[in-house]
Point group: C2
């Protein structure tokens, strides 16, 4: 069915969440709420050192402890692969082997009849360590003579990549001004509401796993590889997950929980606390050294960047994130000459993982901050500077990638109009900032879905997208209701059980509505086609004469319910129709990458308390290019949530280390934004140009909104206070010091501009 000028029944309507009642009544069960008969509790013993040799682990006393069912060390992996990791990067031991290379690394694990016994057992495991020097920062890891964290990784480089276009040296030679700045973005934590929790049960012909993952099929793959089972024997169950943001992509704690269950021969649950989740994965800290050449009128001529990602102990998705920075450092701007080098660097810290817009906020922090430095220096309005350099719709952002599929100037105008932009400094002295997120989302293809029409006309959807809070169950149900012309209430979406639910690559990278949504749309329309065939037979009428509405086929004034059609087709004995849909490589025409461009735009108005350095955000406008907003309220919710998450890393968040150990792990010491941090005026705009490859023209969103927040705010601070800060977070102390450092010069400079 074509999306053009179509009258939608439920698409585009902000229906009530299909899982809303379950959530507000507490009925929705998360992994930690489940009780599996015979289940016992597991705990991990973690290294206190960031780098140490393990001289010995003595588990004998613990194994004899009443209530202890299983104790695991690396010795328990002799018959299977002891390594996990994404794709080719299987460098990550499931449990430390001979040495630990970050503080918090599991060195042993225990399963016991209850948590208290498990905790007591941990305390009694005797581990003898020989501490070794630890490399926490990228500078340390890259320093000449630094020890290698992995034998195979020369200079501690996990991966490096380069993008070259034109000749950056000639570009600089042509430039009127050259700007060189270094920006720092710290390690931060995903902080989903639910820390990692998994239950595993192992028997001779299969493994059951109930887990808080965003990648049930990724976990299936990982466990199948490690423990040598066919995919059909690994059953991963997921229903509700309390947020993920990348922290639950691929196998995390599951391989070790399976090891415990395998040894215990009983179901074992491991539920991490926040401090443990913080040493399970995090966002990449990134240092960007930017050199940009500009003409006097603001035209960008050349850009050179060196990007260093602190990827931590193991590769995880580090190489993918590093690859993605090449595009993301560009922003949506046109550069005739480019030379970008990006380095993924091992350190003795917890491995970095995927995190909402991988490499996006970190690189935009640099590029969008520097844009305003340029504007200020050249005496240009930052909006004007951006408009001058914006890549146009259909124009190339980066060689060989799909051309831009959105009109950014139009979007920017919507945002600045909403904010009331008439300059970077308001008439009342407030600072204003603006920025873009223009990214090539992963959005990998590969989703299969089935839609089942039962003999009473009720409809069942099998779809492997995980409900992470984003509203996936609702939007997928809407698509099915739309395709089948049935009331939304008639559609039931099943929990994910990989024994039954067809394959989906993953939930994340802005792919679900676009890619899985397409598979669901096709499954629904396949079922619709079958109903139409039965209706044609029933009415003895051609398809054109038949209308489907509210679960009925209508022709020539006569009606028949889907249920009646199915009963008749199946000899009045019940029956069921199955529609199937695939999102496969055929969905993406060449060039396939990215499947679509994800666009976020942000603008802010704020003021700064010169006495305290405290920043007050008066207005924030965020815009997302939705293509077609299938559920506008959820789209806005995603985009606003993304911007709020950006406010978190802008003002508060950073891992803090002392001697290689994180000293602010936990809910009290690691602050995230709360309701007090919501801007006084907080607007979100959905741009709907039907330009997406997803159902009805939809494209992914939810990762764009986070990107421009920090630079827009830093720029606004700079415009109104003169304080230019290049490291996050923008704590009051840091702002206050920057204001002091900027002194009178900047201040008077600003005044002279207005």
């Amino acid at each position: 069915m074509n999306s053009e000028k179509r009258d939608f029944s439920v698409i585009g309507t902000s229906v009530r969440r299909v899982d809303g009642a379950d959530k507000v009544t507490g009925k929705a069960r998360y992994a930690g709420d489940l009780i599996i008969p015979g289940m016992i509790e597991g705990k991990f013993l973690r290294s206190p050192y960031a780098h140490a040799r393990i001289l010995s682990i003595d588990t004998r006393e613990v194994e004899a402890l009443p209530g202890v069912i299983a104790v695991i060390t690396s010795k328990d992996f002799s018959d299977v692969s002891p390594y996990m990791g994404r794709g080719k990067n299987r460098d990550h031991p499931i449990i430390a082997v001979d040495r630990v290379i970050f503080a918090g690394q599991p060195v042993a694990a225990v399963a016991a009849v209850d948590r208290a016994t498990a905790e007591e057992a941990l305390a009694r495991i005797a581990v003898e360590y020989q501490e070794l020097p630890a490399l926490i920062d990228v500078e340390d890891a890259l320093a000449t003579g630094a020890p290698r964290i992995h034998e195979f990784a020369e200079k501690n480089i996990c991966f490096q990549t380069e993008l070259v276009k034109g000749d950056v040296e000639s570009g600089f030679a042509e430039a009127d001004e050259i700007f060189e700045d270094t920006f720092e973005f710290p390690m931060i934590y995903h902080y989903s509401m639910e820390p990692h929790t998994a239950i595993a049960e192992v028997d001779s012909d299969g493994i059951n796993i109930w887990t808080s993952t965003g990648h049930p099929f990724g976990v299936r793959q990982e466990i199948a590889e490690i423990y040598h089972y066919p995919l059909s024997k690994i059953r991963v169950h997921v229903n509700f997950v309390g947020g993920a943001y990348g922290s639950k992509s691929g196998g995390k704690i599951e391989p070790l929980v399976v090891a415990l269950a395998r040894k215990a021969q009983r179901p074992v649950r491991v539920a991490l606390n926040v401090a443990e989740a913080m040493v399970t994965c995090r966002r990449h800290a990134v240092q960007c050294k930017l050199k940009t050449g500009v003409k006097k009128d603001g035209t960008l001529i050349a850009k050179q960047a060196e990007i260093y990602l602190n990827t931590g102990a193991y590769a995880e998705t580090g190489p993918i994130v590093t690859g993605r920075t090449l595009t993301r450092i560009l922003g949506p701007y046109r550069y005739p000459n480019l030379k970008i080098n990006s380095y993924c660097v091992y350190t003795n810290t917890v491995s970095a993982a995927s995190f909402r817009s991988i490499g996006g906020p970190q690189t935009a922090w640099a590029t969008e901050s520097q844009m305003d430095i340029i504007a200020q220096k050249l005496g240009l309005d930052p909006v004007e500077l951006r408009l001058k350099n914006l890549v146009k719709k259909g124009e190339e952002i980066r060689p060989k990638l799909k051309p831009l599929d959105a009109d950014l100037a139009k979007g920017l105008k919507l945002v600045t109009d909403k904010l009331g932009w008439d300059g970077a400094l308001s008439k009342t002295g407030r600072g204003r900032g603006v920025g873009f997120g223009t990214t090539d989302p992963g959005a990998p293809l590969a989703s299969t879905s089935t839609v089942h029409v039962l003999a009473d006309g009720s409809v069942v959807l099998l779809c492997g997208t995980v409900e992470l809070g984003q509203g996936a169950k609702t939007v997928m149900s809407q698509i099915v209701a739309e395709e089948l012309s049935v009331p939304l209430e008639r559609v039931t979406i099943r929990p994910i059980d990989t024994a039954f639910t067809p394959f989906d690559r993953s939930t994340g990278s802005s792919r679900s509505t676009t890619v899985m949504g397409k598979a669901v749309e096709l499954a629904g329309s396949d079922a619709r086609r079958q109903i139409l065939e039965l209706a044609q037979e029933h009415f003895e009428s051609p398809e054109e004469a038949i209308t489907l509405k509210d679960g009925q086929a209508i022709a020539g004034g006569k009606k028949v319910s889907y249920g009646e059609l199915i009963h008749k087709h199946f000899a009045m004995q019940g029956g069921e129709l199955v529609g199937r849909g695939y999102a496969h490589s055929g969905m993406a025409p060449t060039p396939a990458n990215p499947l679509f461009w994800e666009i976020g735009i942000g603008a802010v108005e704020l003021d700064v308390d010169q006495e305290t350095g405290e920043v007050h955000v008066h207005k924030y406008v965020t815009a997302a290019d939705a293509g077609k907003a299938l559920h506008p309220l959820h789209c806005e919710g995603q985009d606003e949530g993304s911007a709020m998450m950006g406010i978190g890393h802008t003002f508060y968040e950073a891992y803090q280390f002392d001697s290689g150990q994180i000293i602010n792990a936990g809910m009290v010491d690691y602050k995230v934004p709360g309701f007090d941090d919501v801007p006084d005026q907080f607007d979100s705009i959905l741009i709907e140009d039907g330009n997406g490859p997803g159902p009805y023209g939809a494209k992914g969103l939810g990762e764009g909104g986070i990107i421009p927040v920090a630079p827009a705010i830093a720029n606004a601070i700079a415009w109104c206070s003169g304080a230019r800060i290049k490291t996050l977070p923008l704590t009051p102390e840091k702002v206050w010091r920057a204001i002091k450092d900027a002194g009178q010069v900047a201040s008077s400079g600003l005044r002279s501009r207005t």
Copy 2:
């Protein structure tokens, strides 16, 4: 794919059962083995009277008993339908309302923290009854002036039906001899290894049921109707069931278990014992009054029958069984004139239900016994008499039904040759008997199946056929392996969960291999077609150039695994193909009824101890028309098991009543055959003419073998001892008395024939 002259890889091979290891190791979990978190135990309070008014039920004391969670009486059904029952016959209250009409009827139910508490609670429920006269036998129920068991049922007739062909009175006028006999077949019990067991869990948006049913989708339908849920909200889970034979068709205890769980708001398990299962359902006792007119040469001219089925308290499947007797009383014989009247009669006994070949053994008991009475009288060999009257392949058995699809004479010859038939009395004085089962199995259409090919080439089958012990998991896996050209080990068949498993009408009435097997075959070939399409793209070759073998596509000396093809198709991100298959009304050309004729043939050689009446079965040969035996060993097992079940009702089984109560309920008092009862020589023959509508020409079997056993044995007894017995079972006492009664006359009559 055509079955003609096809080289099969796994079809037709008696592979090891796919569930064999789970069963012999005790890993296979039946409903009674399951533990659902929070589960409590339910018990039913049953009426001691066959007919009584309930004056009062006082549950107050019990409700206050510590550990009692819920107490149920008919008052708890005020908001839902209190009636259950198959199809239109919803006359069966889930729990007694105001009166009880059979001994064993549930009048109250309790759910408590454990079984002991539940049992104590039952003992404390005070029920005041006013006993009423009970009608146990059909004669009592039909007697003039008998009270009505149901107000709506005049003369206690639940249903009656008639078959007329030609003019039976003219037929009798033409006959040389007329035979009039009355045969009795008692109530018997299914005696599956596992009594009925169910667990239910009810919450606001759905019901979960784990149950030992053969009809998961029938239970879903029943519960949905009673409790007003859409089908999509009722989730029935079944994996292994320990036999059914009709006793687990449709809702049995499930509606009442759901009622308990609904009130308890906790999962409730009810596990019946054998005595309780015996008052849950049974086989119809049948009385057949036969009048048959025959020419001197043995040609059958006319048949008149009055058939009375004791259907018990409620209709259940009584009307269906009664309808089926019209065909089944005919046997495979040609009658120019017919008048058959069949009556389904209510009595104050437990409701009769479906039971392996509904109405088959009871009517064949009459017809096949009388055939030998005729042969004896006319001085004909009973095999010759049968051959003279057999309906031929393609000829009509009964007007408007599909013509016979098997060559019975050929089958009979196979059986009698195997037995070494050279007359009804062997040279050593042993008796011989023979008989047919020629029935129109229900085998209703309506099955949907899906076959899933995963990205590592492993294959998953979703199929709603219940593994009752008959080998369904194995044969369905074989079909998938054959269609997809993969090794059998690569196919995993999932447990049934109606949340995910596509619809199947039921497991029973000889339909699974034929009807669901067809859906599975089509789902497999649909997946095969998709793999071939990917292979064509991959090899850039036409389909004809590609061979599929062992999970690989092969063309021009190059190989690619299914997994690689799927990965490539899904942009190297995993993926899954879904094949679907439907068995619907299009599967059966007109006339559609029966889908096929089910053929069983039996022959026996035995002798009788004249002093004790004990019968010793020396040889038994059973034959089944398999069409194509997909798993020969399982086919033989089904057919032999069916014959052994026949040996049970032939020699041992019958409900015995005293004052309306069953006095032999339980494993000790109700004898079923054991290994000692296996005939010394026990042969089974599979006839494979590829004449079935199922996959590869298969047709159903397993219900045919039970039919001829009792008359074949009774006939053999008559031939060698002169004792003609017309009521089952053939206990030694009954045989001894019959020998005495027959006296010298019959004995000398026999001698004169040899």
